[in-house]
């Protein structure tokens, strides 16, 4: 056991940590923006509206993240017309490929979480909104979504942690994220245990932070569910 190697390579790990956090936050932001309309549309009872979002969700949940990122990174690079188009500026960079893959993947899962939460809205809330004279759009914005997103919170916390662990795939397509840093340290010094346990430690810390943030969010937005203080 030789942890001096880890200490010596701490800057590499920290720069990897930055890439991991950056990718995670950007992917979650883009993913959520995509997921909101997709989830609402998927919850619709009209087949013309829900067909595409449900197909998208099915595809994203039905294929492994690694396969999706490989498809975008290696797969798209195979087509000459893409390589000669303006789009290549984006697909050339491993960073953008990873971000696109992660965003679409988390969008699929998040949309399904939102769809499920909307489907579980108590009928009484919707009826009350109608009785107040709200049009469907207004009811969605004022009643259904606030209620559904609250219910979705614990499941979404899970998705964020899964996405964090999914970002290791960045390390497979030449990016030096936390996992990529661990692979470099391992390959230079042949210390697989130390290098990967160190990466694992950072992931644990990040997970702890995420869990803590969601606990705070639940305390705030689930306040109405707590027993009243005496």
């Amino acid at each position: 056991m030789d942890f001096t190697v880890i200490i010596d390579n701490l800057p590499l790990y920290l720069s990897g940590l930055r890439v991991t956090i950056e990718l995670l936050i950007l992917a979650l932001l883009c993913g959520f923006v995509l997921a909101l309309p997709l989830g609402v549309a998927a919850a619709s009872r009209r087949a013309t509206v829900n067909a595409f979002p449900r197909g998208f969700i099915y595809f994203m949940r039905g294929t492994p993240l690694l396969a999706q990122v490989y498809l975008i990174y290696h797969g798209f690079a195979q087509f000459d017309f893409l390589r000669e188009s303006m789009l290549w500026a984006v697909f050339k960079e491993a960073y953008w490929c990873a971000l696109i893959g992660f965003s679409l993947n988390t969008a699929g899962y998040t949309a399904e979480i939102i769809r499920g939460a909307i489907a579980q809205t108590p009928r009484g809330e919707i009826e009350a909104a109608r009785a107040c004279g709200m049009r469907p759009g207004v009811a969605l914005r004022r009643v259904i979504l606030p209620s559904a997103l609250r219910r979705a919170l614990p499941a979404y916390g899970n998705e964020v942690i899964f996405m964090l662990h999914g970002t290791v795939i960045a390390g497979v397509i030449t990016l030096v994220d936390l996992f990529g840093a661990a692979k470099i340290v391992n390959s230079r010094h042949f210390v697989p245990f130390e290098s990967f346990i160190a990466a694992g430690f950072f992931y644990l810390c990040l997970t702890f932070l995420i869990v803590w943030l969601f606990k705070g969010a639940e305390r705030k937005w689930h306040a109405h569910l707590r027993p009243r203080a005496a």
């Binding site: 690079a77 050339k92 030449t174 042949f190």
Partner: protein
């Protein structure tokens, strides 16, 4: 009585553990069976055919050395990244995977004498005009297989001016060179020539710059890597390499892949 039984049981258990601990060691010294770790993504030295067969110079050399030693062999494909840790973890007994004999690796494993030695070179897209110098490489991106002598070389010599992109296998690095994600690639010249330039994929690419053999980075050539405690196996491989060099078997395998002797000097 109960106490006595427990003591007898403990003694028996101890004896059983002793036998279990010593038995494989005695067996291992005879080297009737050798498991060899190979890579499988480094043509023409080792690759996997469409039917899943391991082929290449390293593979042929591995079988020939085994035959010469007179041992029963099994080849175990293993990703390059974990190839030394897996040797230390006893997943196999030797590595024959074009592994250069370097000081850094010698800290962890023992090496046989070299079984070939070829220089490293850069490759670029024809007409890209990239030249090999500190100034010419400034701002360029260079692909390399992670944890290789070439990785050490490019990081050590040009790491401050170029962006180094590291890949798990040589094949992935070729993919990104073709895709235009890296400007240059550095790797073993023979591997590039046979595994890339002479394929359809490699048409339109060419060597650039000098041949590099600096022992500081590239070591003394490729050898068989073996756990340090298995000094007897190192000796067996050294004898076997000498034998196949002398009896023409090496030349037969060499000529199957190359039009010159890659053993070096």
């Amino acid at each position: 009585m109960k106490q006595f039984n427990a003591t007898v049981f403990a003694a028996m258990l101890f004896a059983a553990m002793l036998t279990a601990a010593t038995a494989p060691a005695v067996h291992a010294q005879k080297w009737k069976e050798i498991r060899i770790g190979v890579e499988g993504a480094y043509p023409p030295f080792s690759s996997i055919t469409e039917s899943g067969q391991l082929v290449g110079f390293d593979i042929d050399i591995a079988w020939e050395l085994c035959k010469t030693i007179g041992a029963e062999c099994a080849l175990v494909p293993q990703d390059w990244d974990g190839i030394i840790p897996a040797l230390l973890a006893r997943k196999y007994d030797a590595i024959i995977a074009s592994m250069s004999i370097t000081e850094e690796r010698k800290k962890k494993v023992a090496f046989s004498n070299k079984y070939y030695h070829t220089p490293a070179r850069f490759v670029r897209k024809k007409g890209s005009g990239v030249s090999i110098s500190k100034a010419g490489l400034a701002g360029k991106s260079v692909g390399v297989q992670r944890a290789t002598t070439h990785d050490n070389f490019i990081t050590g010599e040009f790491g401050d001016t170029v962006t180094v992109k590291r890949y798990g296998t040589q094949d992935e690095a070729y993919l990104d060179l073709v895709a235009g994600r890296v400007d240059l690639l550095i790797a073993d010249s023979v591997a590039i020539d046979d595994g890339f330039l002479s394929t359809d994929q490699g048409a339109g690419f060419e060597f650039v710059g000098p041949s590099y053999t600096d022992p500081k980075y590239f070591g003394e050539g490729a050898g068989v890597a073996i756990r340090k405690r298995d000094a007897d196996l190192v000796a067996l491989f050294n004898d076997a390499i000498r034998t196949i060099r002398a009896n023409g078997r090496y030349k037969a395998i060499n000529d199957k892949y190359f039009d010159f002797d890659i053993y070096g000097e």
